[in-house]
Structures are given as C-alpha cells and as structure tokens.
Symmetry: C2
Subunit: 611 residues, 2 copies
C-alpha cells in the first residue's frame, strides 16, 4: 500500500507516493530534504520536528510530547523520526530546515538580498530610417550603459531579443557588466545555485534571487571518488594519466550538471533561468573544477596555480545553466586552506567580531582558523583519514548502521545512523568510544588499552568482558557478532586508538600553534565553531575529553553545520558577501605547519590524552 505525501517548503509543494510503514525522517533524507537530527533518529534530541496536516495524524508518543511541548503538539508538530507513514500526509517543512535557518539568520544579520546578478526590463525605441543605430548601440544608450556590449555570445542573441517582443527586452547584468539579453519582460525569473564541492560529497542549493527563498537542496557523492578517496590520490591520478586532469574535471562537471538537473526539476524551473552559480570547496577541488593543474599542491612547497576569485562564463566550463550566466569561484588562501574555509569564516561572521573565534573543519586535512575583526590566521593540519572512519579496523563512513555514538556508563551502549543494525564505526563513533574508554580508565593517558582485567577501576567492571585480543593486539568489543548486520564483531583495536591519537594530535597542535602565534590565551577565545559533517555530529564533550579540542575551551563549542555551503549561499545572494570573502582571503595569514618550529613539540604533547 502506498500513500500520498505532500511536502510544503518555501511555498513550493512536492507530492510523492510513499510505501506504508516508511519512516518519515528516512524518507525526507532520501529525498534530500536537509533535516537536523543530532540524535540521528533516536527520538531523543527533538530537533527533527515537522508540522503535519490532515486529520489522521496519530497521537504523539510520550517522548514526543515531552520534547515538543503541549502547544506544538496541538499545532500538529511531530518528530519525523517517530512518524511512520500510514495514511495520506501533508508535511510542512518551512520551520524545520536547519540550514535555511542559518541562512535566514545570516541574511537578517548581515546580508541584504542584493545578488551580483540582476535583471532589468526596458522598452527600446523602434528603429527607422532616421534612427539607424545598431541593436547594440540602441540597447547601450537606452540603458545608459556607457559602453556597448563586449560579449560576442550576447551580441549574437541581441537581434532576436529585441525583435521577439516588439523591443521589450530584459538585460541581465553581473555587477555592471551586461551578460545576457532576453526577449520580453523576464524579470520574474532569476535563479542561482550555490554548491559546496567536498572531497566526498557535493551539497547544492537552488535559490530564487528575486526573493532569497531556497527552492530546493540536493546532495550527492563526489563522482571523483573513483579516482581516489582523498585529494592526494586524486592529484596523483592527474599526474600519472595523460588525460587524468581532463577526466577529473569532466566527472565533476558531470556531477554538478546532475545536481543542477535535480535542483531545477524539483523546483519546476528552467535551467536557462539559472544565471549565477557559486562554488566553494577545498583548493584542490577548485583546481579540478577549473581544470587547473593541482600537481604543485601535492608536494612541498605546496603551490596552487591560482587562488583568486574567478568569474567565468558558464559555457566556458560546460555548466548546464544559462550559457551566458556567471560561475563565481570563491577565493582560496593556500594549497590547504580553500574556498570552503573562506566561506565558512564568512558564514560564522568571525571576521567582523571584536572577540576572537576559532573555527575548526575536520577532515583528512583539518582546517583551523583563528581571529577577529582585526586579524585572521589559518592553518591546515594533516589529520589523516581517521575522522572519516578510514584506517580504522571496523571504520566506515557516515552510512546507515554506522555506530555514531557510544557510552560506557553502566555497561556499554551505542546508537547507529538511522537505527540500523551496526555495520561499523564512523568518525564520531571512534571519538566517542575512545573518549568513553579513557573516561572509564580502559585507556590510559598515553593511549594504551588496558589488557589486564585486574588493572581496571571498579566502576569499569561491567566492561571487563569486552576486552579481547585480536591478531595479537589488544582490542575492545563494541558490538558482538550476534548484534551486527554482517554477523562479525565490531571492535576498536590498540592500533585504531593510535590512529585517532595521531589525528587528534594534529588538530590540537594546529590550534595551539595558531593561539601561540596570535599571542593570545585560550581564555581570549569566545566561540569555537565546529564545521562540516563531522563537526556537526561529533559529541562536543568527547572532543574535549580526548583533547581533540583543547579542554581549556570547554563550554564554548558550537556546531555550525555546513558553514561552507551557507557562506556560498551568502555570496550568491549578496555582492557584498563576495567582497567580504575576498577581504577575508586578503586578510588571512596562512601558517604553514610543516615550516613551524613549535608544531612538532605540540604534536608530541598532544598525542597524550588530557589529564
């Protein structure tokens, strides 16, 4: 049996046929509605509330009633993760889009809707034998452009654009530069897209530039993964294969064009009405997007080809939007501080605050930025792939069934993504497990996993049975073979702990280098922004426990979600935000950790867990 589910969001309504018994949160995520759910569908955080319409909404569970409050329940609010589809349903998401909220706040605070791209309708004088001005000059003079059009592709459209609707014409401009003409008055159709190209995933947002409303969102895996999981292996591919860079460029353009198709299809708009696209991502991703050689990024002294803002005709990159539209590539800072970091800084607004903020975006390279309205600095710490679950014996990415939370209080317990039976441990799970085992005394401050049950503290007795030896290495069993999906034990080994120590030491040492160079103390830092997927879903207390974030910063941590994506949307909707991003790029002092004398000492210290 399938039911009709209508989703209302920003005035757009989409209708789906959904099988009976489907979990609403899972359904929404599958259809790329971004849902905030820190507990990942466990019904404990209360963040995935949605408003349901219709009479057939079931009574709330006790847990929902407690988390939502009486008033919201009466208004029809329920938790998506606790809702199973069993009747036709109308769902209102307007108040439940986390990123949209971030954008909206950003918009209210600092960015008026004033995109670089704009449309203007004009009715031109009709030519006659006494007024034989060329189409180009006629347009330029009517609009007081000062100069005639320079773009051949626009000139080619001009004769039809003027005559298609009796000299009613719409001019499209990027800043003051005319980039397109259309027949008739088309000012009501003007859209833009912001895309964050992650090494692993793309996140894409379609925005109505007349209203600032986000019309659709989608995410997809980065199709470049087939050439390697991390930037270095991808750069290597471009160096080893004659056509490698072409391939790398072509597949990302393909992925982008698929995202554009999905976004525009879902919103029911024409791709030709998309006139601007903004890209952020790490420096290597931006190089591949532009088909710039990234090979000098891979090895010391780590030199990018270009880091400046670039504004390019869409047709030149083969991006499937209006060919005369403008591709904006947000500037990068250095080989390992990319447009994504600039954009994340922009989203936090830390560059305008008097008090000092710290921004950390975890990944194979952890980007760390520190500063305020007077100064900004950044570094990139080579953390390795542990935060992505790689190089961990039972590690997995943030997939269904990944263990993402772990507790060692009163025995051990865990949660998995979407509540599936466990398949492995993702990055946030690794941090939680190590943190909890350290707290329980099963790991000591050097990272050694206790092998002798007699050595354990009394309150950890419940965990004794989980100690094990695997391949001659100490290990701790997180989930027994009978609990897991694949029927094999999920364990954390001594080596896994060492991997995490390396990763966390790199990040923590990077933070300490910046703090030292800035000549400030941890007390001076008002906010610590944790960005990106890992930064959003990590348990902040665990991060502090293991010293991934120096414990001096306790109480000041804040998850900011996909701050890079939010910054990209700000650039899309505001020319001022683009100038601000350029200003951040100019102001920021890049610190090369491999050339920093103090980094190694910090790194060795930070291999230990905090006392």
């Amino acid at each position: 049996m399938a039911y009709k589910v209508k989703i209302h969001k920003h005035g757009q309504c989409s209708e789906y046929r959904v099988n009976e018994g489907t979990n609403l949160l899972a359904f929404l995520r599958q259809n790329s509605y971004e849902m905030h759910s820190p507990c990942n569908g466990q019904g404990t955080c209360g963040k995935c509330s949605v408003k349901l319409g219709g009479d057939q909404v079931s009574a709330p569970s006790a847990g929902e009633a407690r988390l939502l409050g009486e008033k919201a329940v009466k208004e029809g609010f329920r938790l998506a993760c606790r809702t199973t589809i069993g009747c036709d349903l109308t769902v209102y998401l307007d108040n439940t889009d986390f990123s949209a909220k971030v954008l909206t706040e950003g918009t209210q605070k600092s960015t008026r809707l004033s995109p670089m791209i704009s449309k203007k309708h004009i009715h031109l004088p009709v030519p006659n034998l006494d007024d034989q001005r060329s189409d180009s000059r006629r347009l330029a003079e009517a609009l007081s452009l000062g100069k005639e059009l320079k773009s051949l592709s626009v000139l080619r459209q001009l004769p039809e654009a003027l005559r298609g609707d009796q000299y009613h014409t719409t001019l499209i401009s990027y800043g003051k530069t005319p980039v397109g003409v259309e027949s008739g008055d088309t000012t009501n159709r003007l859209y833009g897209i912001a895309i964050d190209i992650g090494t692993t995933t793309l996140a894409a947002y379609l925005i109505d530039l007349n209203t600032g409303v986000r019309l659709s969102t989608c995410s997809a895996l980065n199709p470049q993964r087939k050439f390697g999981a991390d930037v270095i292996s991808r750069i290597k591919h471009t160096m080893d294969e004659a056509e490698g860079l072409d391939e790398m460029h072509t597949v990302i353009i393909g992925g982008i064009n698929e995202a554009i198709s999905e976004l525009t299809h879902r919103a029911g708009i024409d791709k030709n009405d998309v006139w601007q696209i903004v890209f952020v991502g790490n420096t290597t991703m931006m190089h591949f997007l532009l088909k710039l050689s990234a090979k000098n990024i891979a090895a010391a002294p780590f030199i990018p080809a270009a880091t400046q803002t670039l504004e390019i005709r869409a047709a030149e990159l083969g991006i499937d939007m209006n060919g005369n539209g403008v591709v904006v590539v947000v500037p990068s800072v250095a080989a390992y501080i990319g447009a994504d970091t600039v954009s994340a800084i922009l989203a936090t607004g830390m560059q305008k605050k008097k008090k000092v903020s710290l921004l950390v975006d975890f990944g194979t390279n952890g980007e760390i930025a520190l500063g305020n309205s007077e100064w900004l600095m950044a570094c990139s710490a080579a953390a390795g792939p542990a935060f992505e679950g790689a190089n961990i014996r039972c590690g997995v990415g943030g997939i269904r069934g990944a263990i993402d939370r772990f507790s060692a209080e009163e025995g051990s317990s865990y949660t998995t993504i979407e509540g599936e039976r466990p398949v492995g441990i993702c990055g946030t799970g690794v941090v939680d497990i190590v943190s909890e085992l350290y707290r329980a005394g099963i790991i000591d401050e050097t990272g050694r996993l206790e092998t002798d049950p007699d050595g354990l503290r009394e309150d950890s007795n419940l965990l004794v049975g989980r100690l094990a030896k695997i391949d001659g290495m100490s290990a701790f069993v997180i989930a027994g073979a009978d609990e897991t999906k694949h029927g094999k034990e999920i364990v954390m080994t001594q080596k896994d702990i060492r991997e995490l120590q390396n990763a966390k030491a790199a990040i923590a040492a990077g933070i300490r280098v910046l703090v030292k160079r800035a000549g400030i103390s941890f007390r001076d830092i008002e906010s610590v922004y944790l960005a990106g997927g890992f930064g959003t879903y990590i348990n902040p207390q665990s991060a502090l426990n293991i010293g991934l974030i120096p414990p001096e910063l306790t109480g000041r941590l804040e998850s900011v979600g996909n701050a890079a994506g939010v910054g990209a949307m700000m650039v899309l909707t505001s020319g001022r935000a683009l100038r601000e991003a350029e200003n951040i790029k100019k102001r920021i002092g890049y610190v090369e950790l491999s050339a920093d004398k103090g980094f190694n000492d910090f790194y060795i210290d930070e291999m230990m867990f905090p006392e």
Copy 2:
C-alpha cells in the same frame, strides 16, 4: 624544363621550380606576390620592375630600357611582365611591393610600431615554504600587474609556463590585459595578421610585430561565393536556411584559416606565434565573421546587430592562431558603411587633413566618404554589379583575358588582363568603352547608342563597321568572333550602357549629396582617393568623361589600392591607429541616401553623360 627561381622579399627567401617560358609577372601574381601593374602586363607602364640577380639576365628590350632608365637596367632591374623564365633566376622584390610601400609611408607618417599586443620576459622568484604564493599571484606581483589573471585559459597554462624553464617566463599582453604566458624568453617571436574580407576576395598580410616587416601576403577568393555573389543574396541564404548563418560563418573561418596556413608556411613561422589578427570588411562580412545575424541589414531601415570595435579570444572564433591571441574587428559605421571604409579612411589620413578629401570605393555598393579633420560624412550608393562586370551581356570579373582597356582613337583597340585572347569585358573595360564611344559620338549624352551610320561624326567613320543589332537591340562590336578565345563576338549593347548609366548615376549622385550636405563646392576638395581593385585599375580620365566622378574633380584623382587592407595593417601595428579608427567611426555622420530628399533628382540628372 623547369628552372629554380628564388624570390627575396623583406629578408625572406622562397624558392620555386618554374616551367620554362613562364611569364615572370604571371608567376609572381599566381604566388600572391602583390605586383603593381596598371597596364596589366602590356609593358607600357613600367611599374612592375624587379631586380634580377645572376649573370644570365637577358638584355633589356628597347621598351624596358626606355621605361626603366639606363641606371636601373645596369643594376639588374627589368620589367616582370617582359621577362620570360629561361634560366635559374634570383628576383629581389624589396623595392617593388606596392602595398608595402604604402604601409611603409603610412608608418613613417603617422604610425610608430607600437602594436596592442606585446611580450615581456621576466624571471620570477622560485617558491619555497616561506614564499607559497600561487603561480598567479607570483606572476602578478613580479610584473606589478595590479590584478591577477582573469583568463581561465591562461591560468591553465601557467604552472607549466613557470616551471618549463626554471621560472623564466614570457607574458603576452593585449594593451594592459595579460592574454598569454609562455615558458622561457620568447620575445623574439611575435607576429600578427591583417585580413581584408571582401565580398569577392580575401587579402591577408603577415607582419613581424617586432620589426614591422611584412613577411608574406596572400589573397584568395571568398569561399562564401557559393552562397551568392553579393551580400544581399548571402543574407538571404542565412534567412532561408536554418543553418545558413552557421554555414556562412564556418566557410569564412575556413577560408581565413587557409590563408593563415599559407601566410605562416610561406614565412616559416609557427601559427602559435601569431597573437593578433585584425579584420576589416563590409558590415555584412563582419557580421558573418562574428556569426551575428545580418538579416536586419538586408531591408529598411537597415539595422546592423553591432558596429563597435570587438576584441575576441581567437579560440572563441575558432581561428587557427594562438588560441589566447586576440581578434580585433575594426568598427563599422552603418549597415552599408563598414570596417573597410573606416580602415580606408584611416589609410588615406583624410580624417587628419585640413583640406577636404573625397574617398570612393566602387562596388555593388559604392562607399563614399567626404571630410577633413573637422568633419566626416559617408554614404553608400547602390550601384548594382555593373562595375564587377555582372548584368553586362559580355561582362566578366577581373580575370585573364578580360578586356580592361579600350580606345576608340584611330579605329578601336583594347588590351586584356595578362594579354590573353579576350573572353569578355571587366568593369574598367566597360567604363573605358562607354567613355570612348561617348567621346567618339557613337553614344549621345542620354546614353543612346547611334544606330544610323550616317549620323556619325566624320572622325568616327572608322567605327561604323562595328555597329550592329543583337536581339533587336543596338550594339557595338568590341572584338570579332575571330579574335576571341571562345570564338564568339564580344559586344557592348544598349542595355549594357543603361546598366552603366544606372551605376555611375548612383555613385555620382551620392557624391553630390555629400557635397551638398557639407555645404562645400567641388573646388574645396583637394584629393579624390579611388580605393579597391576597381578604383585602382580604372582609367581616371574615363571615369571623369562619363561623369562617374563629377568632371569638376578633374586633376585631383589618386588611386590608393587596397586602402582597407593598408588600414588594417596600420591597426595591427599600432594601438594608436585602432583608437584613430574608433574615432573615425564616432565622428563620421552617416547619410542614408534612401531617406535623402535630393538624391533622386541628382540621380536622374546623373543618368546623363557630362556635356
């Protein structure tokens, strides 16, 4: 038997195998060496002199000796048209290139060698961990560019350009805009091409932009001819066929690329070292070059899509030179006053003279410009194709065997192009014939061809036998069937005379409209420049006799050859000349003859021949 012929020109030497008995002038023309030969190889004008090397140069004929003078003969000068190849020969053309002389004079008078395109070599600091600037910023700062590169295609070349020769790099700029980078010091290789796209022929010139020396020249038929002989039929093709404009564009780009291949091959240079190309031509040709719709040029009110100067990346047009090089399209004025007229005005310098000049470029549309340093105006007179030999019963283009000169003194006589047996009458021949028959009283001032031998003046008795009736129409036999190549009579009919009257009336009336509008008299005109092929080869006295040029202007006529091509070369070699061309475009007042009240009266008056 074939002989070795070496041609020296501007320091370049080309070697050919040439069959015994070949006429040297014919050979040189076939190989696109531009030769000035007003008598068209009759050995009477003395203009095609060349210097021959080697011992085997034959003694000069009496005619050569008289025309060249004793000194030149001693130095080895001979007339190319009187030289038959009968031994190995070395030919020096340096002093015999007519157009080159014009260019050189132009250069001395007004244009210093200062092309828009330039190269600069620089050695950049090598990056290290303390200097991690991107390639783009490194270059921009070393050259104090102010801004970093904007061109994606240049950025793509940058990493290799810097590292290919240990940070020795050459930057190519157009004005102040960087357009290319090359590895090493390549400043000694910088070339440009100027092309005049005529409706019928292309003329192309390759110039070394480090020296200003012209390295090679070539001309070719415009491959668009297959879509129609004149601009209107070609525009019609682009309107009738869905892909018509694409075709029209593609074939001219193909023709241009063939010319580039020939020019660069002959000069032994690499196409990649051609960094600038300058185009002139009529407005329609410029539209087809740019793939701009020309359909609104064809009908009133005659509106071009664009007439401004355009500067376009070569790759965008598919022109086979350095893809990052710059295509400059000289501005046009109106639908029927094109970049060729602007360029011809530039070549004459009339826009800078205190005294008034008149410029006439004959063709299906005769372009007429009048003015001085204070004012400029221009009009286009629809002359029809008579000057190209079309719509004339025995008319032909300027091909071998075309009757190009005619005299009715002491009987009738004619010359043909390259001295071949006659095949028809070309435009200059038509003018000569009508002029001579009018002078002899065989045509009266209304254009009526005398049909009654008794009506003839006594001194014209020798011509009586040539009067005839053809298809019931009065005619005059120019060449009997026994004289011609095809064995058929070549005649001039009453209808042919009417065609010429129409054509000459249009031009003459156009001139009178401009003179009247300017409020000047013919006495105020100091120089009359006759431009283009027809303007170069026409007998000025005949043009005055029939009133094609108002007889008031007697004594002030000057042929200026391919002035449009010369102007294009000036633009190529001097940024100032480009600004001057833009200035001409801005200053020039276009007079639409079809909207001029006085034009028709002048036209009717000018149908008559001058008394």
